[in-house]
């Protein structure tokens, strides 16, 4: 047979020859969620110093003022006041700090611990895998609230207890999901080829395994933002979380619950803050995932 190597007509989809950063499409950028999250970050950093009132300043004479647009409201208390006459807006701003700290620490630690253990379980397999999987199963069998109550009974309730309980609960998520990701990635042909090419385990790990779990991690972490805020809220609601006079969005919900019939704003305003934060972080997470994935990036 004659060997023909005709220069086969090879068509390659036209790709923008732009620098990496410019290729990030600006069109799909979720500006509103970014703006909301920035506002919350500013609120969390500024805290009491940018709040219009002292978040803990009691003024019983000004109790249950409605928001400014409702009859009886004033521009002095934009989002109204609670049962003790504290400014709701100021308390949301002050609570943003607590919520932000809880979210950052809880997600940071549970993500780091869970991912590390998940990678170890998936990559080494065997006995390491078995031990880690058993520990996650044990952790998942413990009711979260019971764990929280045990911790608050033995330690002081407060910010650090909340963070510890959340980390202990949520790392299993990461461990389980990352483990299964690594298990499937490990068997990919390109990993086999990297071995054939002579790459060491470190290179294979950093180049072929870690970048491919990024998508999952981003999605998990942004999903967790909402869950952590709500979890902190339920802990605070039960009285085992943030202790007054400190405040958090969850504690505000808990405090305002009993007045919901005649002071709807007390519970609605922090509720809206929680919803906006969760929604924004999820939308930003989706966008980040697309940004980090070459398959979606250029479309």
């Amino acid at each position: 047979m004659t060997v023909i190597l005709a220069p086969t007509p090879v068509t390659v989809a036209d790709a923008p020859q732009l620098p990496f950063l410019v290729r990030f499409r600006l069109k799909g950028t979720p500006w509103i969620p970014i703006l909301i999250l920035l506002l919350i970050i500013v609120a969390a950093m500024g805290g009491e110093s940018i709040a219009p009132h002292d978040p803990n300043g009691l003024d019983l004479g000004a109790a249950f003022r409605p928001p400014f647009w409702q009859a009886g409201g004033s521009y002095d208390y934009l989002l109204g006041t609670d049962n003790l006459g504290r400014d709701v807006l100021s308390r949301i701003i002050a609570g943003a700090r607590v919520s932000a700290i809880v979210v950052l620490y809880a997600i940071g630690f549970s993500g780091a611990i869970g991912t590390m253990l998940g990678i170890m379980a998936g990559y080494f397999g065997g006995i390491v895998d078995m031990i880690i999987v058993r520990i996650t199963e044990i952790m998942m069998a413990i009711p979260t609230l019971a764990l929280a109550l045990i911790f608050t009974a033995t330690m002081d309730p407060g910010l650090s207890t909340v963070i510890i309980v959340i980390v202990l609960t949520y790392w299993t998520w990461y461990a389980r999901i990352i483990r299964s990701e690594i298990l499937s990635l490990r068997e990919r042909d390109y990993v086999a080829f990297a071995k054939v090419a002579g790459c060491g385990p470190v290179t294979i790990f950093l180049r072929h395994l870690v970048p491919n779990i990024f998508n999952t991690l981003v999605v998990l972490m942004t999903l967790q933002v909402g869950q952590v805020i709500i979890f902190e809220a339920s802990l605070s609601f039960l009285g085992v979380g943030i202790q007054p006079p400190d405040t958090s969005w969850g504690l505000m919900l808990a405090d305002a619950r009993q007045y919901i019939t005649y002071a709807w704003w007390g519970i609605t305003m922090p509720g809206i803050a929680i919803i906006l934060t969760c929604l924004s972080s999820n939308l930003i997470g989706d966008w980040l995932r697309d940004l980090l994935d070459p398959k979606r990036r250029q479309l």
Partner: protein, 324 residues
Amino acid sequence: MMGLELRDLSKHFTVRSDRGKATVRAVERVNLGIPEGQTVALVGESGCGKTTIAKLVLKLETPTSGAVTFDGKSLEEMSRKEIKDYRRQVQAVFQDPYASLNPRLTVRRIITEPILAHYKRDRATLNARVAELLEIVGLPPRAADLYPHEFSGGQRQRIAIARALALNPRIIILDEPISALDVSIRAQVLNLLMDIQEKFGLTYLLIAHDLALVEHLSTRVAVIYLGSVVETGESEQIFAAPKHPYTQALLNAVPRPDPDYVPKAAEGFDDTGSALEPPSGCKFHLRCPHAMAVCKTDNPPLIKLADGREAACHLLSGPPPAQV
């Protein structure tokens, strides 16, 4: 002997089930030489152990017994440095071009990966090499900055071939290199493989179930059945006159572009043996149209025939015993 050789190579896997442990004899005492500059094809149906042999040769699996030797030295006895050297000389192209390229790396990084695993090279040298390799496999230079998903299956396989060539290897293991591709582009990739073999004096170990491809590309053939070689010899000899009943059945099973053609061995061919519980005696006797009493008890050895090929069948060794 120079080059690759499989010496009494066996690989068993232990599988656990409800009934306890069982051993799968994926590869059983395979002896095979892969002479320099030739294309040796391993053929057989799926599950017969072809890919396990490829993995053993690529040192992705370790043999249960026996050895893969390279230039006379067993892979198991090699030092780290020698293994690295081996890896430089033996590269691979895998079946599925969608799974064998990391979706997060550009083509440039995919192709330079093997080079950087062995050498330090500056960017200009690497870029020149990438351009050269892309030209060899027939892709435009700007393909280097694209990601795998921007290519078709055939183009991806070209990228995989460029990557395999990056280190100037002596031997390339082709594990079903074209079976995942569209029929329309198989010929192109096949021609490319033949062209680079001639150009660089490569040795191929071809794993395939597509006999047309094997006939086209290979100089030597080893037919594998349930982990063992049943017939091996020059490609032309085997395709012209297969001696082992299994080889005959395989060749008869090739579809022919003739609507009136009725395959001969189609009947009575469903009693598949399993590598988990291989049949006693000759592993093929359950499906063999010529099975005799001796086939149920004795496993026939691989014997050299007059024309130089080897086959393992009682029909071919000595005076045939009485038919059952």
